[in-house]
């Protein structure tokens, strides 16, 4: 997954966020979620982000993915300020540089497994042979499910498809928001072990937001989100 | 493909077919250019003796003004006007013919519906422009209907649409105004006719036999017939936009019958001659296989009938052939014992043929020889003999 240019940018962190502020208006009341948050991610590291529900983990990941904009602060990804980028540029980045894995999988329900993967590939303009897809699916234990629709798969299987989809993108940064939130314990362990292994193989960078404490064992670093700020855990 | 997909495809096809069918355009109605007038001509020349028609009777006395009007119990009738006219400005000669025919389709009219009254009217109008060597004719027909054609008293009038002969005063036919105009041919006239002589009853008190008397039960072939042999004419001719003031003399006939010709008779030659000495001569020759039947009459300068005796001697001295080969006599010599006459009758123009539904020759003629004068000649039945 790492390309030749990665070595030359190893000096600079992959992602840097400074002074992120985000508030929401709920029932006429301003709720502050992030209050001047700072974050640095180095290339190739796997970071777990912890914190109770409603603290703002998803909000932070949405900001880092360019799905939302901060009220204040900067987000630099590979030398580009996401907070100032136009929507079209953000969309492009999400195709090529940022991979997303969600709690509710977010597979396209009316495309088969293969088609979901093909969609991702076509959007990031990568050519991949069917053989590569088949190998990937085999690696995650989904042989024989290629022609199935998401609703025909179990939760764990769907999440594995989502993971494969992200991996195919070969993004510089992967953001995972409660990827095991909808899985049972056994499945969760299996899926995450697989996920992290694949990321490490490809020397990717992963920021994993979860309230599942057991996943911290897989990480290089743990961060805790409290009161709108991060601290090392 | 799955069944649902086939069904979807079938529905799309059906929809397409339906739209194609819906979009068919109504074809334009073609108008036929083939005249159906041959059917009309059959109607008008029908010689069948339908029972129920009234027949001309020698004991019938004509009464006026009633007998100026149409006689619907008889099957055929016509009101005929011919005139020799001179343009006031140029002195050029014109001949004018105006005829209204009535054909009864049934002897009785039992319907209150005016459209179903069984009378068919046909009008012929002609103008001979002698100087230009031109003869124009026009035809019109209509059912009687709700005032489309017919005759009426108060004032006396006989008409077919806008071709109208209308008396100026009640109870008498003349003086009268004649107006006719044909849009297609762009000609017509507006004339005023005043009688120079009283009416002449033709034949025996208006009973005109068309052949020799036959035994009882056999058709007579006779009509009721009267004429105004000399009417002074003044008025205007119209040729296109041109208006020509004219003066002249006209001859008016009114005849009605239920049998014009009988078996073996082909047609007639009719001469209406106005002599310069003030006398007016009618000569009718009905041509038949078994010989001709003659009828003559002579009106004096005061209009009183004068005796005529002896059979006339009529020689055709010249013929004229129409474009399609119908041959008409085109000049005659007429000799009579009493009155003593030896005259040449010559058409002003050779081609004065009426090529309408019914085909005949009707033209202005001059009279020379022992007496001079002018008149009109009518020749019928020549298109059937060849």
């Amino acid at each position: 997954m790492m390309n030749a240019t990665t070595a030359s940018t190893q000096q600079r962190p992959l992602l840097q966020a400074h002074g992120l502020v985000k508030t929401y208006l709920a029932h006429g009341v301003q709720q502050s979620v992030l209050s001047g948050l700072d974050l640095t991610l180095e290339a190739g590291e796997i970071v777990v982000l912890q914190g109770p529900s409603g603290e703002g983990k998803s909000t932070l990941l949405n900001l880092l993915a360019g799905l939302d904009r901060p009220d204040a602060g900067e987000i630099w990804l590979k030398g580009e300020d996401l907070a100032q980028a136009a929507e079209a540029r953000l969309c492009q980045l999400r195709r090529q540089s940022i991979g997303l894995v969600f709690q509710f999988f977010n597979l396209v329900p009316t495309l088969t497994v293969t088609e979901n993967l093909q969609l991702t590939l076509s959007l990031c303009q990568r050519v991949t042979h069917q053989a590569e897809i088949a190998t990937l699916l085999a690696q995650v234990g989904l042989t024989g499910k290629a022609a199935m629709f998401p609703q025909q798969l179990s939760g764990g299987e769907q999440q594995r498809v989502a993971i494969v989809r992200t991996l195919l993108q070969q993004p510089a940064l992967i953001l995972a928001d409660e990827p095991t939130g909808n899985l049972d314990r056994n499945n969760a362990e299996r899926v995450m072990a697989l996920f992290v292994e694949q990321v490490r193989q490809r020397q990717g960078t992963l920021l994993l937001a979860t309230h599942d404490v057991s996943l911290t064992a897989l990480a290089d670093r743990c961060l805790r989100l409290e009161n709108g700020r991060l601290r090392d855990d | 493909m799955k069944p649902r997909q086939w069904l979807g495809l079938l529905m799309v096809l059906l929809l397409g077919l339906m739209l194609v069918w819906l979009a068919r355009e109504p074809s334009d109605v073609q108008s036929s250019n083939t005249p159906a007038t041959s059917l009309l001509s059959q109607l008008l020349t029908d010689r069948s003796q339908q029972p129920g028609w009234a027949q001309a009777r020698p004991d019938y006395r004509l009464q006026f003004p009633a007998d100026h009007l149409a006689h619907n119990r008889f099957s055929i009738e016509w009101w005929y006007l011919t005139a020799n006219l001179t343009a006031v400005e140029t002195g050029e000669h014109y001949g004018a013919q105006f005829t209204l025919f009535r054909r009864g389709l049934a002897p009785t009219d039992s319907s209150a519906n005016r459209w179903q009254q069984p009378q068919l009217y046909m009008g012929h109008m002609a103008l001979t422009d002698t100087a230009a060597g031109q003869h124009r004719s026009a035809q019109r027909f209509s059912r009687q209907g709700p005032g489309l054609a017919g005759s009426t008293a108060q004032p006396l009038a006989v008409w077919l649409e806008n071709w109208q002969l209308q008396a100026e005063q009640p109870q008498q036919l003349f003086p009268a105004r004649l107006q006719a105009w044909d849009r297609q041919q762009q000609f017509g006239y507006q004339l005023r006719l005043t009688p120079d002589k009283p009416m002449l009853l033709q034949g025996q008190q208006g009973y005109s036999a068309k052949h020799a008397a036959v035994g009882p039960g056999q058709p007579q072939g006779a009509s009721h017939y009267y004429s105004y042999t000399r009417l002074a004419v003044s008025g205007t001719l119209r040729k296109g936009e041109q208006r020509i003031e004219v003066r002249g003399q006209a001859w008016y006939d009114h005849e009605w019958t239920s049998s014009t010709l009988v078996e073996g008779q082909q047609g007639w030659d009719w001469f209406a001659l106005q002599l310069d000495d003030g006398r007016d001569l009618t000569v009718i020759r009905v041509r038949g296989e078994q010989g001709d039947h003659w009828q003559l009459s002579l009106a004096g300068p005061d209009g009183a009938p004068l005796p005529v005796s002896g059979l006339p001697h009529l020689t055709v001295t010249q013929h004229w052939r129409s474009d399609d080969g119908v041959q008409y006599p085109a000049r005659w010599r007429l000799k009579l014992a009493q009155p003593a006459l030896d005259i040449q009758i010559k058409p002003r123009l050779a081609d004065q043929e009426m090529k309408q539904l019914v085909r005949y020759w009707e033209g202005a003629v001059t009279v020379s020889g022992s007496h001079r004068g002018q008149g009109y000649v009518e020749l019928t039945g020549y298109d059937q003999t060849d």
Binding site: L107 | L22, D28, V29, A36, A106, G147, Q184
Partner: protein
Amino acid sequence: MTSRLLLRASLRSLYQQPLQLCMLLAGIMLGIAVVTAMQLSTQSARLSYQYASQQLASGARYQIRSAGGIAASVYARLKRAPEQWPLLPVVEFPVQLPGGEQLQLTGLDFLAEQQLRTAGQRVFSGGGSWNATLLQSAVWLGESTAQQLGLMLGDQLTLTTPVGERSLKLAGTLDDRTQPLLAQRILMDMGQALALSNQPEVLSYLLLPPPQGSAIARWPEVMLQKLRSQLPPDTHLQPLENPQPARLGDALYFNLNAMALLALLLGTLIVLSAVWLSLLQRRPLFAALRLAGVSGRQLYGFLLLETLVLAGLASAAGLALGVVIADQLLPLLVQSQAAFTAPPLARLSLNWGDIIRFGLLGCGSALLAAAWPCWQLARQSPLALQAAPVAALNEVKRPLVLRGAVLVLMPLAIVLVMQSQLLAVYLGTGLLALLAALLTTPLLQGLAAVCVVLIQRSGVGARHPLLLMVPRDCLRQQVYSKGVMWVLMLALSVSLAVTGMTDSFHTAFQGWIGQRLNAQVYTSPPDRDAPGQKAGLSTMLVEQLLTDPQVKAVARRARQPLTLAGLSLFIYGVDFPPAARTAYQFRQGDSETLWQGFQSGSEVLISEPLANHLQLGRGDYLSLPLVSGEQSFKIAGVYYDYGSYQGQVLISYPAFQRHWPEVPLGGIRLYLHNPDQAESFARQPVLKPYEVRLAGPIIRRSEQLFEQTFLITDALQLLLLVVALVAMVSNLLALQLHRQPELQRYRALGLSRAMRAGLLMGQALLLAFSAGLLAWLLGELMAWLLAERVQLLAFGWTVPWQFAPERGLIALLLGLIVALLAALYPAFKEVKS
């Protein structure tokens, strides 16, 4: 690849939710169907008259028609006119075959030369004898029809005619294979046909073929003027290309066109609502696609393409449905003109041009309707798409936009409707409808808030919390129910507007005719059967009547055709004794001065349509073309008139006689001291030779004509409401589907089926009430526009708008009933589930 996958994803989504797909297609289909039906039926009605006439006299470009038909004596008089008008008479009326099928019996004068050469030739080439034709009950039938009925030549055919059942002989057949328009005709000779009609002295209309018998030559305008001047007052010469059977008919066709335009608006709204709903229902799919990396622009483009494809299919279906509806409407439309003319056989006329036009209309309106909601959806962030579009209870979405829209659109709409171009007025009306649509949500919120307050304060809320759920759920689901409110609001307002306009026109017309026909007896010269009669009434008659002690006043009338500023109209020489003056209402001016000026002979009165056309008013000068040259006349006053939108000029009768001495006295109006004696007076021997009519029957007949003419608008309003009902049903069904999870939760909480059904129906009623209130306002506004602006601009006459509160109440009630009916099925589903 991306597009292919997007298409696949989207189509499967629709395929897997067939109800959704059906509702989307149905929405577009209904919208197109209603517009197609209206436009097609109006267009076909016009063409039916044209085809009917062209069948009989190919090349004929004009027809002469009159309310109630043309008297045979009028026809005969025209045929006797010196100009040799080559008029062809036609009588037509429907007859029925034993099986119930209707045919058009057409009576022609086979002996009229020109007719003989066209229709008659067909008749006689099929075989027939003269006697049979003219004297016996013989008919000619289309060949295929004869075959269908199993008839041979000479067979008897029983028909149900206006005078009862008759047995007629089949004398021949017509070639209807190459001329399909002949298929539904039975030809008969005029005499025979009239005997079977219940008006044997009345012809349906007259055709005027081109002069010289050529299809190319046209009648010069001066000749047409001449012909017009020879026609009786209520008889019109009209071009066949644009046949409008009568003045009332003109107004009807015009109003139908206005309705068609409003139907277009309604259709577009229905499409908008359907598209909107379909987009809402597929939000999760679009969210997934956006999250997968599909850009907003890609999604927008794809959605428009999808709309186009679906719109194409739905338009085709809508066109087919529209054709079916138009087929039903057409006889009704033609029948509504039956008062003016024998209705031709109504035949739907649809060609490829129409199909393309309606198809483009469907796709175009769907694209137009989809453009904004698709844009709205595409520009939302993926996260926003993930969230359900449930509004906060008190939140007004984008209040600034709304306020801005109202502030900008409202003045623009007002400016547009006050313009003097019809198009501007229509645009302004459309804007007002748009504004009303924008106001549906705030109004719903307001009403819902009021309901909540009332329920709470009355204490009912505490005992029956379900009642509180009704208004609150309405608000939460307002995004979903916007579409249904728009559709219902516009359908009700269009219906109300048309009713309001028709009522106003009716009142104005009735008032006018009652005022105008204020004399008791109307006398005109008879049409005689023979030439030689002097036209016009004699002055001796007038003198005689003036000495009659029963007669209060006699008003003479004559007329002369004129051309003014390109308009063909008449100038009337009229007496105005004091009794006659109340017949005219003037726009302005003191009556005394006005009448003095008029009586002087140097001033004229003009009708309002003419004044509007010429932009002249009281005190201005009007130049009239007299024989001696142009002469200026001062305009003494402008009077209201609905009799002729071309316009009229009135001048005093003595002045008229001076300028046009050769024009005979055309008619007189008699005012009696005792109006009740009108009938007995009319029977007097002195009036016997003349055509005498009484005011009462004329007024009653005109009422009848009016009712009949506008019958069609009732049918069309019903159509619009049915369409709105169907759109509502589909929308409410979709809403119920969408709310299934929520309704399941209510079920889990213990709400019974009846309660849940009641919740759905209650919401429907609240939505309908809100829509109905707006519809009342918009409808009356549109009625005012149609009556006072559109009529004025189109015809030049003023129709004062009449407000009637019961109209709005009925519309409101109707809306509630429609909503109840629409909610029945979803409620029933909820009960059964």
